[in-house]
Symmetry: C2
Subunit: 111 residues, 2 copies
Amino acid sequence: MVTHPPDADLNRVFRALADTTRRDILRRTVRGEVSISRLADDYSMSFAAVQKHVSVLEAAGLVAKTSAGRERLVRALPDRLALVRSCLQQLEALWVHRLDQLDAVLSSPQE
Amino acid sequence: MVTHPPDADLNRVFRALADTTRRDILRRTVRGEVSISRLADDYSMSFAAVQKHVSVLEAAGLVAKTSAGRERLVRALPDRLALVRSCLQQLEALWVHRLDQLDAVLSSPQE
DNA sequence: AGGATGTGTAACCATGTGGTTGTGTATTAG
DNA sequence: CTAATACACAACCACATGGTTACACATCCT
C-alpha cells in the first residue's frame, strides 16, 4: 500500500471539498476574483477562520491567490476538479463492469 | 448560513472519500460483496481500524452491510456518488458561465 | 504623518480522526 | 462442548481540524 503522490493530492482535494463554507468560497471565486475580506464579510466567523479555509483550498490546489495592493484576490482553479472527476469515473466504471458481469451471468446458459 | 441537511450529507460523503484506504475499500466492494475480515486481510492495520473505515463509509451512505452468518458482507452503493457528481457539475457549470461572460466581454465593442 | 483597512501568523482550545488494544458476543468448526 | 473465527464496542492516544483572540506588518486614504 504505497500511497502514490497523486493519492495524497486526492485526499487533500476531497478533504478541502468536505466543508460547506469552503465549497461556498469555491462557488464564489469561480465567478471571478474576490478578496479575502470581501469573502469574510458574508460568513459568521472571524476573518482568520476564513483565511484558514482559503489556505486549505489553496493547499489542495483548488484556489490561487494573487496580490493586488494590500489585498489578496482569490480565484478558483478548475484543474484539480478533473482529478476528482476521474476518481469518480473510475469508480463508476467498476460499477458498470459489475453490471456487465451480472448481465453476462444472467444471459449466459447455466454451467 | 443555515446548512441544509443535504449539505451535511455532502460533507460526510466528501470526508469519507478523502482517505486512500476508504477509496480502496469502495473500489473493492463495488465489484461485489466482501466481508470485513477479508477486506482487513489486505491492509497493514488492525481489524478494528478497517471496521471503523467501513463504518465511516456506511455513515456516508456509500456502503451497506448485510449479515451472513457470523460475517458482515459489505457492498458499495452507487446512489450517493450522484450527489458528488451533481455538486461538481454545479461548480463546473459556474466556470462555464464565467467563460461565457469573458467571451462576451472580449467579443463585444468597447464602451 | 497617522489612522483605517487588509493580510499574515502565532498561541490556544474543543472536538474530530485514525490508529491502537482489550473485552465481550455470535457463529462456525472439530 | 470447546476452540477458533468474525464481528461489535469501548477506552485510550497522538495528531489534525475548525474555530477563537491577539498582535505585527503592509497598504491606502486624508
